[in-house]
Symmetry: D2
Subunit: 344 residues, 4 copies
């Protein structure tokens, strides 16, 4: 107890069934856990509050606007576009078509992480410029994945929302990099990440002072082989009770089958998702990547109408027009000493 007090923590001793329990009265969620586990005579450390305080406790509305598009405020955001930007013409045409279909943001891959190193890995910086051109023509904010600090730099001017893909959710160096920008971040759940790990990944971003984080459920990996992934909508309903960050769902990756995108998009809205991320292609079978799961702009239009209808049903109150001042960075990280030693 003496040593805990040296850390500035108030604590209390209780006895229970022959054991001594030291209860830390203050919020200690940001103190490294080895500060407690290493103490002599400590047998077990039990966390009673979540260890992602910024992500969990923010009482305020965490929705935000990008241009005219509001993430997290009642009307489902629909981020649509091709898996990969394939050419200038393709993305300009697609942007016009998905806007017409009701999309409120444009997605398109410039840098593609591919399982196989020989597959098409995106047009790179060129694609970023095309996306910006599409934004200029349609007014749709752009969403695109970044894989490295260098790519974040290149994306600054062209991309409105930086996407962290499922493969990089555990890439904490990259999370810190996007946390240092002031761009909103769309953070996808890794294919076998727990809900708690997703929230802790978000905490990495918030901790750097960037509060505009959108969580994205995109399917987890299970034994079921009929679908590419198992879309975990339980996680959406659960997340909505654990954080105020907007939660969107990607039924394209979540199912891997074009025919399942509509039913699962509607299910996502019905269980409380704030929006959708959907792969749409002018000619799905010709997509350079993920051809099986892309839908046409016409199919997208149907989904948007139905999704909005369902959203109205389950959230009858119209969202209040709202602009939120960007919050002060509140870096609450516990300042660790250089060595791992505890203060004596």
């Amino acid at each position: 107890m003496h040593r805990l007090e040296k850390l500035g923590l108030t604590c209390e001793k209780v006895s229970s069934g022959g054991r001594t329990v030291i209860s830390i009265v203050d919020d200690a969620s940001t103190v490294p856990s080895h500060y407690f586990s290493q103490l002599d005579q400590v047998d077990k450390v039990i966390n009673v509050s979540p260890r992602y305080p910024l992500t969990a406790t923010a009482p305020q509305d965490k929705s935000f606007f990008i241009g005219a598009t509001r993430f997290g405020g009642g009307i489902p955001v629909v981020v649509a576009g091709p898996c990969s930007v394939e050419s200038r013409t393709q993305i300009l045409k697609t942007a016009a078509r998905v806007k017409q279909a009701g999309a409120t943001a444009l997605r398109g891959g410039a840098f593609k992480p591919r399982t196989n190193p020989y597959d098409f890995c995106g047009l790179g910086p060129e694609a970023l410029a095309y996306l910006a051109e599409a934004r200029a023509e349609t007014g749709l904010p752009t969403v695109s994945e970044v894989l490295s600090a260098e790519q974040i730099e290149m994306a600054q001017e062209h991309i409105d929302v930086l996407q962290i893909g499922a493969r990089n959710m555990y890439n904490y160096e990259l999370l810190k990099e996007v946390g240092r920008t002031r761009k909103p971040v769309l953070l996808k759940r890794a294919m076998s990440a727990t809900i708690d790990e997703l929230l802790q990944a978000a905490e990495y971003i918030l901790l750097e002072g960037n509060e505009k984080v959108i969580l994205c459920e995109r399917g987890i990996r299970t034994f079921e082989a009929r679908t590419r992934n198992t879309l975990d909508l339980n996680a959406v309903a659960m997340l909505k009770s654990m954080t105020n960050l907007p939660v969107v769902v990607d039924p394209s990756h979540g199912t891997g089958r074009a025919s399942l995108v509509k039913p699962m998009a509607l299910a996502a809205i019905a269980c409380g998702a704030d929006g959708l991320l959907i792969e749409a292609h002018l000619e799905p079978s010709k997509s350079v990547s993920d051809a099986e799961q892309a839908i046409t702009p016409d199919e997208l239009a149907e989904i948007v109408v139905a999704a909005n209808n369902i959203a109205r049903l389950i959230q009858p109150t119209p969202p209040v027009p709202y602009t939120r001042p960007f919050a002060e960075s509140k870096n609450r990280r516990f300042d660790p000493p250089v060595s791992t030693a505890l203060p004596n």
Copy 2:
């Protein structure tokens, strides 16, 4: 080819890249696979059509009525009631309350398969009689799980829909038993069963001449520990494209948390489920089993209203009043010889 012809199968030979492919022209989905794999010089057997022909190909509407409740016809069926029948009073009161809340069938466990042998395993035959009494008072058809041939016998008179629980989906002897009755069967997906295995389990029942099978998604087992199971709604959308059998969803077991039952019930309807199976209890925290996932009749009432609204949105056409004649049993099993030998 000579030997295949002895089995009554027409076949054709094609050559491809130095290999010889023998294509069987007839429907051979019901011929035991070893009849092909064992033939000399056969290297590989590829199934091009599904091996659950009764479950997969039935072109007709597979919905059916039980009393006034239609399973599979546009308006969501809501099967509600306690996990376990705990007493006569409890089930009579609950039945009245869930009916008032909009439930269209009554569930209640008489025989409970329990992971731990020391836990409460149901009131047994007594509970069946109470359920029948509740049916008489409310007009609600009764749904209850059976674990053995003996229990099927006992349930005959009291129970309208025999439930096969997730733990018994692979219990093929039991599937054959319920297949021999003329009671509708609610077949739950096992906790790690693939969609194809669920359909083959249904085939066991249909093959015995019982076509009234209702499939039930109730969550699969994954690494995620925040929820009891991971409700696989992809499977619902997928099943609707693979069979005409009604598909219902159990958001109570599928989430294990009362607070998630409503959002996931609505998601289930939004992606095309024909109904819901929900644990409702007059006093959830006092439930003898699964207390964490039970909801109150009032919460149920809210779900029923919202679920019907969503169902109307996604299936605007009102269901046609309809009574279906019970189909002739069509046992198409390939008649196997006593030994495993192929005809020469």
Copy 3:
């Protein structure tokens, strides 16, 4: 506390951080959990001791002999034979060959649970008679799966070890049936059963008075598709620390590939398994079932030699010759009252 005392339980009250903890001093592992959870003012019930007391706490050596074969005593048991008994000739020849290869027991399926209802489901009672004949010729004890009470009856005279397959591990009615026999039971872990569920399934058998239970790890279901299942050898090492029941491993189902049977058989012995269950066939590619995973008797012989060498390395002490008197049935089930009501 007054009501707990009515149940015959001594308890103690402690306070901790504003909460009141009632600690039950007696062993309450066999009291139904709703007896505690339903009490007014009880917020949470925490089990500190495992709820499979018979399986967990038995201090004595749980190994046993069948004929000359000892299950669980240092020298690996090798149960080998075809997936299915296909004919009298086949099983007699195979029995002779696997005995020569060093097998210490003979397996062979008489009743086969098949995912697809149209596949070969075993020769039934006929196969049982052939197995008995093979036993008479070779002296090898016989192991075969049973799926129903009726089949247990038929197997009585011919089969020495009743196998409960992975698909029936949760079939508690069947577990109780084999528990009522005095035959040793080989209990396979279900494809997504936790270690704790396997132990509780064993408890069902022990609770009926049958203590000769052999646990079998046979692979769990994961996302990995290169192998049929994922053999969970962690579970073997873990089980050895949780129970004295013998633990065997089935590398045939655990991998689904003949080429992996040997390395995984040796790994199983290296991490402490008491034996192996291996599918061996005179002509693997002609096996009526599971042809991909069957090995030849010659390959089996190599495995037996290597497995014994590894067993000697890790357990240098030679096993003491030993015959164990069959323990008295100790049915410690808490006697539940007819209704679910607590004593007042």
Copy 4:
């Protein structure tokens, strides 16, 4: 076919059952798959050879030496040390003790990827210098994880084997970075990566000209909660048949329990692993990270003896002394044009 020929590929046409199959005679494993899938009239593309040609087909012995330690040549490599380098004294003492225990390389985390952002994340560059000092004192090559290009740079002089952790197996930018160094790379399987994905991740490294890749199985994520991960030894046996790259196993992360490290280390060697990666700590309960799974140097010594005994049993031939010339970089990547368009 005309367009495939423009890509320099020889092809052949065969007809089969009314369908036309175009078979590509040349090795096309490195051609981006959309070059085929996008062609008009192409319905389906089937890969018959694996798409990781460098990883899969290398016929030569892929073992290599680092100092006196050979990776992949018969005698198990034992990489041991603390999860995190905690201080200069700690790592120097530990290095001496693990060497004495028979370790052939030293591990120690300098940069720790932590699920929780508030936990200890390593001493950084300071730790690298301590590791180099420990190498100088003991002669043990050093193994340490890197998370970014910047850290690779810092590690150059101090670290002999760059570790890519499970969280970064899908971080293809990082894989390319380590591929550009000439340091051996220890590549851990991600927690839900398939075997094929692991091999393709290795291909990213080999493709940059770095052939010294060691694959590491460290447990996958499943539903089983008794162990931290499920060690997938099937994968080890499978990998040994798919590639000549050395395969090592990490039973510390693979089980998460100190008591299971020994049995699973032995199992790993028994099924063919080329080595072990083990967390050893002078005082396990005081470890700043992963305290539950660390073992003492004395326990390590026992494992080394037993592992070598088992290795001798299963691979009786002594490894031939051998130094392999570093192979020429063979970058066989198919040179993609700037746009995604196919040559007309």
